[in-house]
Symmetry: C2
Subunit: 157 residues, 2 copies
Amino acid sequence: MRAATPESRRSSPAAVSAAEELIRATGARVTQGRILVLEVLQAAGRALTHHEIEAAVTGPLDRVTVYRVLDWLTRQQIAHKIPGDDRVWRFTIAGQKQAHHHAHFQCTDCSQVICLDDVPTTLRPRLPAGYRSAGVEVTVKGQCKACVRPAPRRVRR
Amino acid sequence: MRAATPESRRSSPAAVSAAEELIRATGARVTQGRILVLEVLQAAGRALTHHEIEAAVTGPLDRVTVYRVLDWLTRQQIAHKIPGDDRVWRFTIAGQKQAHHHAHFQCTDCSQVICLDDVPTTLRPRLPAGYRSAGVEVTVKGQCKACVRPAPRRVRR
DNA sequence: ACATCTTATGCAATCTTGTTGCGTTTGTTC
DNA sequence: GAACAAACGCAACAAGATTGCATAAGATGT
Ligand SMILES: [Mn+2]
Ligand SMILES: [Mn+2]
Ligand SMILES: [Zn+2]
Ligand SMILES: [Zn+2]
């Protein structure tokens, strides 16, 4: 809150990270786990699996805690939780503009997911009587940059 | 193949069911498991989970066999395999017209899936350089008829 | 700085969905 | 019916995710 706690050991630019700020704004506790996981998500340019997040976090953080932090971030709408064709959840930070209507790309080879922020999902599909629409999800299937190469390699998860 | 077989609408044990016909046409073996599972899918008006199919099959049929039959039906393109937000695959028979481009509806409350045959999925999203599109999947999220009622009940799987 | 209260965490156990290996049964062809 | 390959049943396995509970750590007030 107040200006500067003298915290300059870090090579990172901000004394209080953007992640920390975001978490504090929710009113909930600002914990190490939440900061670390959110920073990983913010640094990634794509959707990450639980495994990838756990591996990317600096220092030890329990598997279950990562699950719980991700669940919390999703409930706070700070993160997106995306189901994949490999039955693995992936998570991204939820930018402001991409709040509701945006599409995803998922690679049919390695299952990686990225957000396609500029794809308009303005369909208005006709539903059967009694059904209520709350939004449309568009997922482009195909090959990502890495997998479109001559010898498509199966990325190990 | 020819027009000949008149569709008897009887649900009584037919001499040769439509399911049996379809399976035989693939050239593979016409087994009890395949017939039973396919008949269940044909009778259902929506996408079914492995659990639902196993329960709906008359007589004992091993869990694993149901998985293998569903996998076979999918490879034969007789069935669709649809990923759900609850990490559970669902299966529908693949009608002729809905062969490739059609949308799905998934209920945010009970996770049920139905096919929306008449929704055009004609978007052509712009992908990052190097990415290759192989099709677009459109899923409408919302509440199904059962869950849109005054007291939305969580359907137990 | 300390005491206190609340919430989040670590760890083990458990659950759920789906897969694999292998010996036995069944469908098809001759 | 015999022979052969394909499919099946069963048990074990695997991976992702969840739950229960004792302990640790964040927040708040003094
Ligand atoms: Mn997204
Ligand atoms: Mn379908
Ligand atoms: Zn890929
Ligand atoms: Zn529903």
